[in-house]
Symmetry: none
Subunit: 123 residues, 4 copies
């Protein structure tokens, strides 16, 4: 099973992309506290990146209390990073502001929003 993909051309470091994807899966509930994340070697192989890169991502996630290392077994999910969603919302605000300054109309943004979220009246 491949969990997600990495954009090798992005300016965002690969280890950070991995951190973000893992955090997203925790927040969205795809993986829950106590669950094991894939082993460093397996994820590295699945993503086609170096083992050290995954190891570094996991290390950072341990530092942020998202993962918990279990000696000899692997890493389990510990909790979620509370600041993550806020960061992402800030990113959204930034890019919208940016698009406004380059002349994007509100309707154009709304159109894309509808495309992504569909007509969920529950939204």
């Amino acid at each position: 099973m491949v969990w997600f993909y990495i954009d090798q051309t992005s300016h965002v470091p690969v280890y950070k992309q991995i951190c973000d994807r893992i955090k997203e899966m925790v927040i969205s509930g795809k993986i829950k506290p106590g669950d094991f994340v894939p082993s460093v070697r397996k994820l590295a192989k699945d993503l086609g990146v170096n083992v050290n890169t995954v190891a570094r991502a996991y290390r950072e996630l341990v530092n942020e209390d998202v993962l918990q290392p279990i000696k000899g077994e692997g890493y389990t999910v510990k909790g979620i990073d509370e600041g993550f969603v806020k960061e992402k919302l800030e990113d959204l605000r930034k890019i919208l502001t940016n698009l406004k300054t380059i002349g994007l109309k509100k309707d154009d943004a709304l159109k894309i929003l509808e495309e992504v979220f569909g007509d969920d009246s529950e939204g």
Copy 2:
């Protein structure tokens, strides 16, 4: 006059930030074809970055036909990068999709959109 600011903490390279800001100003009409952009040395001083960094940014903009170098005089605006807005719209779509997967509701996104664009009924 300071044209814009650089985020030194960003993962986006400084030279690329400069490219993006210049393109934005061209697209938004703040600078028009034929106008001179600030000299490499002046912009470097204003932004607090190295001359070479600005030079590299301008060089890339020349490659993309956004700027036109005039020896001994400076750089003038040549045209706009047609792909730029499309790229930005793709970025918006990506982050919205991303936010959706981590559980953001449509209304939350709409709220931010309203905050940024206000109630422009013309939008």
Copy 3:
């Protein structure tokens, strides 16, 4: 192994000479798609130029789809620059026209051509 030499007295910038030599090797088949070119640091050392100069040359070759960067591994050959040979033929035409205007006779040019190409009847 030294791949080629740089003419430090030439008006052609060093980075451009490097681009040209690499393109020549690709077109002549000395290096083939998939092959690794020497690392930035190694080539810089071999040629006696600065690392940044080689890096710039390789960057331009990436822009022209001649090289492909692989992070942490090096650069591989991607393809050839179709316009390169045409440019070179134009250069030939220019210098011949030039020599004609300063009074060079056809036979003189033919003589040099023979010296370079020998009597390859296959030519």
Copy 4:
């Protein structure tokens, strides 16, 4: 009357292009010893380059004994630079060798030579 054109995009400095064109005209006999070359200001205007650039070219030509400055009148042709044709022939040899290494066939080179020189059997 415009004497010749300057390639602003070339890596060859403008002042050197001017020197070369003047030398060509002397060698080809278009201007003869004793003739006046255009004034610095006029040539600068005709070529669309800076006065200083033409002044520098003329200065170099005086150094090489091609031009003779006449106080208050201008510059006259003094003689020709004997090494010039040899240089140009070397350039031809270089580019031919280069084209051979990248796989150009003798016939391709011959074809261009014919195009430039025509069928001058006198050549």
